[in-house]
Symmetry: C2
Subunit: 332 residues, 2 copies
């Protein structure tokens, strides 16, 4: 049984109308009505050995990132975060200094975005550190569900792709064989992996101005997350390889690592940029407004097309894009 | 570092007023205001090997109990459950048949109490099955915080104590040395352990009629949970051993197991009865009303007293009650 079948089993068992429920399983957040407000709820878990390793995620950035990836789900709905709940599973004895550093990181990120920690649970976890977070927020009036993309929309991304995957590669190789990369580049890429920036103001801006149709945050990788939009919307897509925003840091590091930078950009996860579709007629206006209001450059990387397939256009040919996104229940 | 220190560390780092937050960490649920409604949120995790063993909790009752223990937290606040979020960590490969049985149980309990499952996450869990649930509900206008007990209040419990602990003992010994106990008794006690009944209607009844001051659900055991009320309220208590409601099934089984039935009743956890304090002048009225409206017998087991200590009155003496409640971060 793979992860998709597991999720389908859950979804099927519970898929029916329910008073107050606008959207259940299947988007970045669930959407419910409570007392006249539209409320977003997202929940995510991070497990040691599955989502992170102690040598790649020290406690302080782990605390920040654990909250940041949930904030990113709220950003992808154009929402505003309010309250968080934390469940911490810790091995026995608790690793020395872990808790204070982790909480310092968690608190830093909570303070940056005015999120209150309201509760949680601590428990003994024999399998290593586990972190469960539930985040509650408020939605904007217009919600950019994954299912709203239409053929003809332009596909945009909010920033560099692949930096996080390259940073993770560097972290994994530390202590082993030295790779010659300038310190500034190493710092930038490791930061992209350890301290992703939840794009909350950008998400709100795009949604409140009604520029976007469908939006998702890039957690599993561009190929995998774009497929989510396409499947939910019943459309295909064509990405233009030459337009993918790659940083100079990524290009240099990929060369030193002998890795394909486009592979890292397309299949590497955890960039936590926003990926969204925009009606063609809105695109130029949106790009200009995002620059004026937020000094934010947006990258037009392709187009939503009829059909179900995702194509990748290179300077030489067009081919179907494969997805190597991570599936927790497939061995590979 | 023990669990209490861990929780204190978290609480201290986040303890400050926050707009919309009525009660943060420290009660059965967090309490927030959203759009004019008072909303309860509770989150709990169950880990294989820590909170349950496969041989004592098959998938179907596990699915029901996982939701029931969260419903019990809402019951302890006198609230009404609305939406649930489920995070399932599963080993690889997923144990055959686990998911469909677990979900069948979860859905049964959700349907019984009209709870919608709105989302969640599935992930690979190398340390065994892990279940994280977040439950959102609506509060009544009057909320029976743990901190509201006052000296002079009578202490009540909603049903038998120790049955769940006795059921767990029987399950643990299955396959091993046979204990001679009638099948009906075995069934009753195992059901008390595997399928605890969340006392939602009783919780709402007690709170809406304003009978109770402080309330908690019995998850860690009477001694431990009463201490929570006493510590939060800055009071002591005196329990009357002779008044503890023990079932005939518990008495017979304790004898066969050569265990002290009062030990199971005081220190055994997971009864999921409601424990609450009631102003003396309300007590008789409440007992009568609960019987008339719900055919529910309530058991007066002692009194809240000044001071900080909890005493246990036996027919022969009064002694201070020790707490053997489970602490995840202490070795014992």
């Amino acid at each position: 049984m793979n992860e998709l079948e597991v999720i389908r089993g859950i979804k099927k068992a519970f898929d029916r109308p329910f008073p107050g429920v606008i959207r259940g399983i299947g988007d970045d957040c669930a959407v419910v009505r409570i007392g006249g407000k539209t409320v977003l709820v997202t929940t995510d878990a991070l497990l040691e050995g599955v989502h992170f390793l102690p040598q790649t995620m020290p406690p302080y950035p782990l605390g920040r990132k654990a909250l940041a990836v949930n904030l990113s789900d709220i950003a992808a709905m154009g929402g505003e975060p309010l309250f968080a709940f934390l469940t911490l599973g810790l091995p026995k004895p608790v690793p020395r200094g872990f808790l204070s550093s982790f909480l310092k990181g968690f608190k830093k990120e909570a303070d940056r975005f005015k999120v209150a920690l309201l509760g949680g649970d601590t428990l003994f976890s024999p399998g290593g550190i586990s972190i469960g977070i539930t985040l509650v927020g408020l939605a904007s009036r217009h919600i950019p569900y994954r299912s709203r993309a239409r053929a003809g929309d332009r596909i945009f991304v909010s920033g560099f792709l692949g930096d996080s995957a390259a940073g993770l590669e560097l972290l994994k190789r530390e202590g082993g064989q030295k790779i010659k990369i300038p310190r500034e580049i190493r710092t930038v890429l490791i930061k992209a992996h350890q301290l992703p920036e939840p794009r909350l103001s950008l998400g709100r801006f795009l949604v409140r101005r009604r520029y976007v149709r469908a939006m998702i945050d890039l957690s599993d990788g561009l190929a995998s997350d774009l497929r989510q939009i396409c499947q939910a919307s019943g459309v295909g897509a064509r990405l233009d390889l030459a337009r993918l925003p790659l940083s100079a840091a990524l290009l240099k590091t990929a060369a030193a690592l002998e890795r394909d930078p486009f592979g890292l950009a397309l299949q590497g996860g955890e960039d936590y940029q926003l990926l969204f579709t925009v009606p063609k007629t809105n695109a130029a206006l949106m790009e200009k407004a995002a620059w004026t209001a937020l000094r934010q450059k947006l990258f037009d990387i392709g187009e939503i097309i009829p059909g179900r397939k995702i194509y990748l256009g290179t300077p030489h040919a067009v081919e179907e894009l494969r997805v190597y996104g991570y599936d927790h229940f497939q061995s590979h």
